[in-house]
């Protein structure tokens, strides 16, 4: 039972990681003058889109999301609309947090917002996929005994890794090295992506390592 779940999660994570890789590689062919630093926003949105698409596809296929009580079209539609609204709200929230952390308020608002979109994709979107548009469940998942399945634990790990990665990404900005990746928000978005990849890698390993201690409450 454990092995099956962990194996499934590992392969899902591998697919997501591969999609990030592809999102970096494919635009090189398609877009002129593409580079991660030079046309950073293109890279950022391509990664965000691919992660979003793959996440939604994988979780839809695997049927991870909580069983819906009503299987009607309306119910699904309303869930979809709520999810979209939550996603937009989370982008705005991340934007505000990043500005409070010291990002310029007006000058590079587009860059800041793009970073917020990336962060939302890496965290909120997965929350939406796994838990549905249910803020209480999100709050519950990020507490010590809140995880109710392997997927919840993986969500904990990947989300916190992405945010911590973005946080660490801010560190090189004040240094006077004059490197191209010190430009706002390249280091932060690289940090977030790196953190996310680390989380994807770490989650199965961690769960495997701690599978004796992990006991999930029944839903």
């Amino acid at each position: 039972m454990w092995d099956v779940e962990i194996r499934g999660m590992t392969s899902a994570h591998a697919i997501i990681a591969a999609s990030i890789f592809m999102a970096t590689v494919i635009p090189v062919v398609l877009v002129d003058n593409f580079s991660v630093y030079g046309t950073h926003l293109v890279w950022l949105y391509s990664v965000a889109c691919s992660v979003a698409v793959v996440n939604i596809a994988v979780f839809w296929l695997l049927g991870i999301s909580p069983p819906t009580k009503k299987n009607t079209l309306n119910y699904k539609l309303s869930r979809l609309i709520r999810s979209c609204v939550y996603f937009v709200l989370s982008c705005l929230f991340f934007h505000a947090v990043v500005v409070l952390y010291g990002a310029p308020l007006i000058e590079s608002a587009l860059e800041t917002f793009s970073l917020a979109v990336l962060l939302s994709t890496l965290t909120t979107l997965r929350c939406l996929c796994i838990l549905g548009p249910n803020v209480q469940a999100w709050i519950r998942v990020f507490s010590r005994d809140g995880a109710m399945s392997v997927w919840d634990t993986s969500l904990q790990i990947t989300s916190s890794c992405s945010i911590v990665g973005a946080w660490f990404g801010a560190f090189p900005i004040p240094l006077d090295w004059d490197r191209p990746w010190q430009v706002w928000p390249i280091s932060c978005s690289l940090g977030a992506t790196g953190g996310f990849l680390t989380g994807l890698l770490a989650a199965p390993l961690w769960i495997r390592w701690h599978r004796k201690q992990l006991t999930y409450k029944l839903k």
């Binding site: 309306n74 409070l100 709050i139 507490s143």
Partner: protein, 1417 residues
């Protein structure tokens, strides 16, 4: 189903259903649900708890769930709207006949709910009507089965029966009846009367029975009591007699034993030699004294029959004595006071902290001693007779030839920046400081052989005294001299002024009075003017202008030195970009013109600036704007070579002026000058225009020899110049001298390469010295580093084991051992080296005591209490990051933002961590299904929710303060595109009067908000009641001082020109206002220290009659120990405060003689004086800042409050759900607190650089300058470390705040807690647990010290490891100095805060001593 009634409005088909509804209840429902059926609008929002029944083409299709729904237009139609909520229906009154034929009127209420909307819609036409009818009929039939009495008795079963039978029928309709309740039963009046009578008779019977029973019981009780009393009395008598008998028996035995012993002793004594005689003597003495006593006491004396018979007398007396001695002496049993409860350990805490601080100080002292530059001064002087080696045939070198100039005029314009002197004719829109000195450029371009303008580069530090020292001695004043700017002491090294005096030149000085103290007695005549008042632009300059021209025209001078200060002061006051600067520079231009006109041919004019200024008009650092000044040389008798004839130096180092002037005027070059002659001022050897003067080569050769001599002397005195570079320099010199001598010998002209080589030699000497005077002492540095590391380790151990350390006396042996080690090291060094340096002894003492302390603590500590895993918590990791950031110059440059970033992170971490532990949201409802008992006390979710909302509000306040505080930052010069905050500008500098007014009003608002918030807080907690010293300072001094400050700002902001006739008054106000505020605030601090109790005790009698005091309510009988009394008293006292504060209206109602003592403000007895002191201190420090900083101060107050509340809420939330006792303050708030101190250091406009020190603070209240140096230095220190001071003093508040905030928590749960006062003891809890209080206080202080100390350690490490870094003198060394000073200041003020808390504790102890005895009896 109610909807079914309603929608007939829109549908005629169903109108009939309405008719069937009974009128009595239909109307009410209509009123409630008077809305029509919803239209089909495709997208529909169904409210919660409603079900809409939809038909598609007339056929039932589906039921819409709450939320978003979609319908097909036209086809779909909403037919019914069913509410799924519970419905209450009033069943109207109806008559029924009971079994015994009584007619009753009964009405009832029916509760029902729709379970299945489908059945409810389609199963029955009108569900309510059906159900009501059913209920009525059922009730009637049920009643018929019962008699009247039973009806009343069995209401319950009646109801249940009705519900049951309704449910049987209504299941088909999708309705569930939940309850049926009979409301009222009306009985015919006759029947009612008889029932009443029946009841009455019954009661009467019971009363009589009870009464008789009572009488019987009473009689029995009385008899029983009497019997018991008699038995007890007889038993007591029996026991008494037994005891008496036993006592007597014991007494007889004891008597006999004692007698036996005494006789034995006596007999032993008597057997000794002369024992007999001695015994007789003593007996005789006693006999006589007994007799005299007898005579005194009564007039009847019984004389023995035979006075001569000694032996009988002896036996008589002995017997008498024994009889007296053996009788039981009624001694009071020493009742040991059982006050052995643990007490607050005040002294150990203070001593421990003092020791810890001094260890830190020793570490800092050692490191700084090894790190900061030290240069030895060479106390030798040059003279005319000197022969410089290698001496050539005994020639006197310095006075070799005639001087070129007999006289010189040296005009020093303080802060004459290089930019000021330039003239650009193309600049059509010059700024106030541009193109204002055209004379210099005019002369230099029109008469190139007479005048020259150079850039004159000063060496850092660019403070005036160091520069005067630099361009008179020609040496390089070192970094450590910066601090001496206030203490101008005489220059002991050889200098130009002394040389001029020795050569017999009459040196006349006028201007800046710093010179007089630097060269006491060095001038022929001096006219000093006060220099220290930065705001005074004209005194010095006008003084010079009045005197300079008469003296110039006279003949009583050879060298005239005039030091103008106006430009510098103008820069400090207004900045360079101000019309006043233009005025000043134009004035200087006029001065230069007139001086040039009056110059004679033998006179050299030197105009120089001692340093430049930054864009804000300050100086002191090493940026190019500060170091680049102007140098202008002029002589009316062709002074120079044409500029094209040789390479012109682009920049002249400041040291070069000394040898040049010395040789031009024909005096010896000062001994320790490092400068190089300015070659263009000397004629080439080939063009012998002035045959007697020194040629370039000769001058250079003399210069080289002089520098070489200095180098030799210095290298003999000190070993700090590296040997290899010294060797290189010596080789270079010997090569030079051999070449020079050989060419002189052969008479060939010197090759140009030799000149270049000599110049190279001079520059390399200069560079070598500069590098080596950055001399480090690695051993001392390592030692200091070690001591600091040890101190941090001690701090950590102490913070984890504070209670253990307080219990076991660890400190004393550690300190003694450390002292012994220190003395031993000092002694060894004294014997081995002959000299003992204090620092090594101190270092050894500190290290020794640290190691001993660690070792003893290790032994005293229980196993497992201390583990390095405790270090791996988020706040400590963040602290580690902060420390790591001090190792990088980039992070230090943007330190303000880095600290804010980290603070923000830690602030966000708090709720995230709480959520992770499951404390942030109320326990999930899932837990309710589990057996209760897992979470022992179920906390009401509303409490948790309110508390977490409050926490999030605090967090948002914190975040917004953080964000706003960024706008008060100053800028370092390294930060390129940075604009310093507009609020940093003093109001007097603002030119736009509207902006000035806005700033003034903002500052005033912030100031009054500060005072109001403090006052409000104190009043809220009842600390302002009554009259007392501390209250006086809060009520009167605080507002008064604020008003004074506001007036002072207004006065200092007033433009000088607009109130010319009030100038004297304004001047007076500038002195008086700040001094009055200082005085008031100081008085407040003093009074608070003397009487810190802000508690108002009131003994209250009955309000109407002023009769005797009612007995105290707390039961403090004599049998209870004071400890128990305290336990009882404190909550009661507090309860009184609460009640009297909260509901003053209820005060009268409950004053039924219950309360005995009211103590207002006892709950915040510790924190109130602390808060007040912080408020007073804050105002005092605000006075030292520019006015605009009042906003930053307000922000500081808000942020500190937010932090405290954040901490308190966290504590509350975690203690609500998992009971943890103890007052220990966790790391997170301490780190937050300390980081906030660093953050507000930046947010009050300070930076860890020397130019950014706000020197203006020294003149607040002292616009005329100071006589001493202590006061201005301390004012500037207070100004610089404002935020460190405030946060350090307020640090103990972290301990108190969770207790203070208890009120909020218990206010909600008050109805539950009721009179149980234990919950609201607030800070009295601390007093009840002195042991925990002391350990928590110690722990908090030590943690704060550790957080600050770790930052010092980090900057020390940075300075040590990066000492060859490019930025070491620009970034790391100043940062180290600031961090170390900040540590010293904040530790001192932390000690002050802790001492204040202990002082309050003493006062509270006194209060309780006074209170208890007089109230407990």
């Amino acid at each position: 189903m109610l909807r079914t009634v309603v929608w007939r409005a829109g549908s005629g088909l169903l109108k009939h259903s309405q008719q069937t509804v009974p009128v009595s209840w239909r109307t009410r429902i209509q009123q409630r649900w008077a809305s029509s059926l919803p239209m089909n609008t495709v997208v529909l929002f169904v409210p919660q708890q409603e079900a809409w029944v939809v038909e598609r083409m007339g056929r039932f299709h589906r039921i819409l769930e709450p939320g978003l729904n979609f319908l097909i237009p036209v086809l779909d139609r909403i037919r019914y709207v069913q509410s799924l909520k519970e419905i209450v229906i009033d069943v109207p009154e109806q008559s029924a006949v009971s079994l015994d034929n009584v007619t009753l009127q009964i009405d009832g209420v029916l509760y029902l709910r729709i379970l299945d909307p489908f059945k409810a819609s389609y199963g029955v036409e009108d569900p309510e009507y059906a159900v009501t009818q059913l209920a009525q009929t059922t009730m009637r039939s049920e009643l018929g089965k019962l008699t009247l009495d039973k009806v009343f008795r069995e209401r319950e079963s009646l109801n249940a029966n009705i519900v049951h039978s309704i449910n049987q029928a209504s299941d088909e309709w999708g309705i569930r009846c939940l309850r049926y309740e009979i409301k009222d039963i009306h009985v015919p009046p006759r029947v009612k009367e008889s029932m009443q009578m029946q009841v009455e008779a019954e009661r009467r019977k019971r009363a009589m029975v009870l009464e008789s029973e009572g009488t019987r019981e009473a009689a029995i009780n009385v008899a029983e009591g009497r019997k018991q009393a008699q038995i007890l009395a007889s038993e007591g008598e029996k026991a008494e007699q037994i005891n008496k008998a036993a006592g007597e028996a014991n007494a007889v035995l004891a008597k006999a034993e004692a007698k036996a012993k005494a006789i034995g002793l006596l007999s032993e004594a008597l057997t000794l030699e002369n024992g007999n005689a001695a015994a007789s003597l003593s007996v005789a003495e006693q006999y006589v004294s007994a007799f005299s006593n007898l005579a005194k006491e009564s007039n009847t004396v019984i004389l023995p029959s035979n006075t001569g018979d000694i032996s009988s007398m002896v036996t008589q007396v002995l017997l008498a004595v024994y009889a007296a001695g053996a009788s039981p002496v009624p001694t009071d049993p020493l009742r040991e006071d059982e006050r052995s409860f643990t007490r607050m350990k005040r002294l150990p805490i203070l001593l421990l902290l003092l020791w810890l601080c001094s260890v830190f100080y020793v570490g800092i002292f050692l490191f700084v001693g090894g790190f900061l530059l030290v240069r030895l001064e060479v106390n030798r002087t040059s003279s005319c007779a000197d022969v410089l080696p290698p001496g050539t045939s005994g020639n006197r070198d310095f006075c070799l030839k005639e001087p070129r100039f007999r006289r010189a005029v040296i005009l020093i314009v303080d802060a004459l920046k290089a930019d000021f002197a330039r003239y650009d004719p193309r600049n059509t829109l010059p700024r106030p400081f541009e193109n204002k000195l055209p004379v210099l450029d005019e002369m230099a371009s029109s008469r190139p052989s007479h005048a020259r303008l150079y850039t004159f580069r000063a060496d850092p530090p660019t403070t005036t005294m160091q520069r005067i020292k630099g361009f008179t001695t020609g040496s390089l004043p070192t970094f450590i001299d910066v601090g001496n700017n206030f203490a101008s002491s005489a220059i002991l090294e050889d200098n130009l002024v002394r040389q001029l005096g020795q050569a017999g030149k009459r040196v006349v000085f006028m201007g800046d009075d710093t010179w007089v103290s630097l060269f006491p007695g060095g001038f022929h005549r001096s006219l000093p003017f006060p220099s220290f008042n930065v705001k005074d632009l004209h005194t010095v300059d006008n003084g010079i202008l009045q005197n300079i021209f008469p003296i110039l025209e006279g003949n009583d001078w050879d060298v005239l030195i005039a030091h103008f200060l106006g430009v510098d002061h103008c820069g400090h006051r207004f900045g360079p970009d101000h019309p006043a600067m233009a005025e000043k520079l134009t004035q200087m231009d006029g001065v230069f013109r007139s001086v040039i006109e009056r110059l004679q041919n033998d006179t050299l004019l030197v105009v120089l600036g001692d340093h430049g200024m930054t864009d804000t008009g300050d100086h002191g650092g090493e940026s190019q704007k500060e170091t680049d000044a102007a140098l202008f040389l002029y002589s009316s008798s062709g002074l120079l070579l044409a500029p094209s004839s040789q390479v012109e130096p682009e920049v002249v180092p400041q040291t070069d002026l000394v040898p040049t002037l010395a040789l031009l005027l024909g005096v010896p070059i000062p001994y320790s000058s490092m400068g190089q002659v300015l070659l263009p001022l000397f004629p080439l050897n080939t063009t012998l225009g002035v045959p007697l003067a020194l040629s370039q080569e000769e001058a250079l050769w003399i210069n080289v020899k002089q520098v070489n001599r200095f180098l030799e002397t210095y290298s003999n005195m000190a070993t700090d110049i590296p040997a290899d570079s010294l060797w290189h320099l010596r080789a270079h010199f010997s090569q030079l001298s051999s070449q020079y001598l050989s060419s002189v010998h052969t008479g060939t002209p010197l090759p140009p390469a030799l000149v270049v080589s000599m110049q190279e030699y001079l520059s390399s000497v200069r560079e070598t010295c500069r590098a080596s005077w950055a001399r480090f002492n690695p051993v001392k540095m390592a030692c200091g580093l070690l001591v600091l590391c040890g101190a941090c380790a001690v701090c950590y151990v102490l913070s984890e084991l504070s209670s253990v350390v307080l219990r076991a006396s660890v400190l004393k042996p550690a300190v003694l051992g450390g002292l012994a080690a220190g003395l031993a090291v000092a002694a060894v060094r004294l014997f081995a080296l002959g000299s003992a340096e204090a620092s090594w002894g101190l270092g050894a003492a500190a290290l020794g005591s640290e190691l001993l302390f660690l070792w003893r603590t290790w032994r005293a500590c229980p196993r497992g209490r201390l583990s390095p895993r405790g270090l791996l918590t988020a706040p400590l990791l963040l602290l580690l990051l902060r420390c790591a950031s001090l190792l990088s110059d980039s992070y230090i440059i943007s330190e303000g933002r880095v600290v804010t970033f980290l603070l923000f992170t830690l602030g966000v971490y708090v709720p995230v961590c709480l959520n992770w532990d499951g404390f942030l949201v109320p326990a999930p409802p899932a837990d309710a299904q589990k057996p209760p008992g897992l979470h022992s006390p179920t906390v009401p979710p509303s409490t948790v929710r309110r508390e977490s909302t409050f926490l999030l509000v605090c967090l948002s306040v914190l975040v917004s303060c953080l964000y706003l505080s960024l706008s008060f930052h100053n800028c370092r010069e390294e930060q390129g595109s940075c604009q310093p905050s507009a609020f940093l500008m003093p109001l007097s500098r603002l030119q736009d009067s509207r902006v000035r007014n806005v700033h003034y009003v903002l500052s005033l608002v912030a100031l009054s908000a500060w005072a109001f918030l403090l006052h409000h807080w104190l009043r809220h907690y009842g600390n302002l009641n009554g009259s007392g010293v501390a209250r006086f300072s809060a009520r009167c001094l605080l507002p008064l001082a604020s008003v004074c400050m506001g007036l002072h700002w207004a006065v200092s902001a007033a433009p000088e020109d607009s109130f010319r006739n009030l100038a004297e008054l304004i001047g007076l106000a500038r002195v008086v206002m700040p001094r009055v505020s200082f005085g008031l605030l100081g008085l407040g601090l003093l009074l608070l220290w003397l009487d810190p109790l802000m508690v108002y005790l009131k003994s209250r009698g009955p309000p109407s009659s002023g009769g005797p005091m009612p007995p105290p309510r707390y039961r403090a009988s004599t049998g209870i120990s004071p400890q128990a009394e305290l336990h009882h008293l404190v909550p009661q006292l507090y309860q009184r405060i609460r009640q009297s504060l909260e509901d003053s209206s209820a005060l009268g109602a409950e004053s039924d003689g219950r309360p005995a003592v009211e103590a207002y403000g006892l709950g915040t007895v510790y924190s109130a004086p602390l808060v007040l002191i912080c408020g007073l201190l804050g105002l005092m420090l605000l006075l030292l800042h520019p006015e605009g900083m009042a906003l930053a101060f307000l922000m500081l107050l808000l942020q500190a409050t937010a932090l405290l509340h954040l901490h308190a809420s966290t504590c509350t939330l975690s203690s609500l759900q998992s009971h943890s006792s103890g007052f220990s303050v966790p790391w997170t708030p301490v780190v937050l607190w300390s980081l906030a101190a660093s953050q507000f250091f930046h947010a009050t406009g300070h930076l860890p650089t020397f130019p950014s020190i706000q020197w203006g603070a020294a003149f607040v209240g002292f616009p005329q300058g100071h006589a001493g140096t202590v006061l201005p230095a301390s004012l500037v220190t207070l100004n610089t470390f404002t935020s460190h001071i405030l946060f350090a003093v307020a640090c103990p508040l972290l301990l108190f705040w969770p207790l203070v905030c208890e009120v909020r928590r218990t206010r909600s749960g008050r109805s539950v807690a009721g009179e149980d006062g234990d919950d609201v003891a607030m800070e009295m809890k601390l007093r009840e647990n002195p042991q925990q209080f002391s350990s928590a206080l110690l722990q908090l202080a030590v943690r704060y010290l550790l957080v600050s100390g770790a930052q010092v350690l980090a900057s020390v490490c940075a300075a040590a490891f990066l000492r060859r870094h490019l930025m070491v003198w620009k970034v790391f060394a100043p940062k180290l100095m600031f961090e170390a000073s900040a540590f010293v200041v904040s530790s001192v003020f932390l000690l002050f805060g802790v001492a204040l808390v202990l002082r309050v504790d003493v006062a509270v102890a006194c209060l309780f001593h006074r209170l208890l005895p007089e109230n407990s009896r």
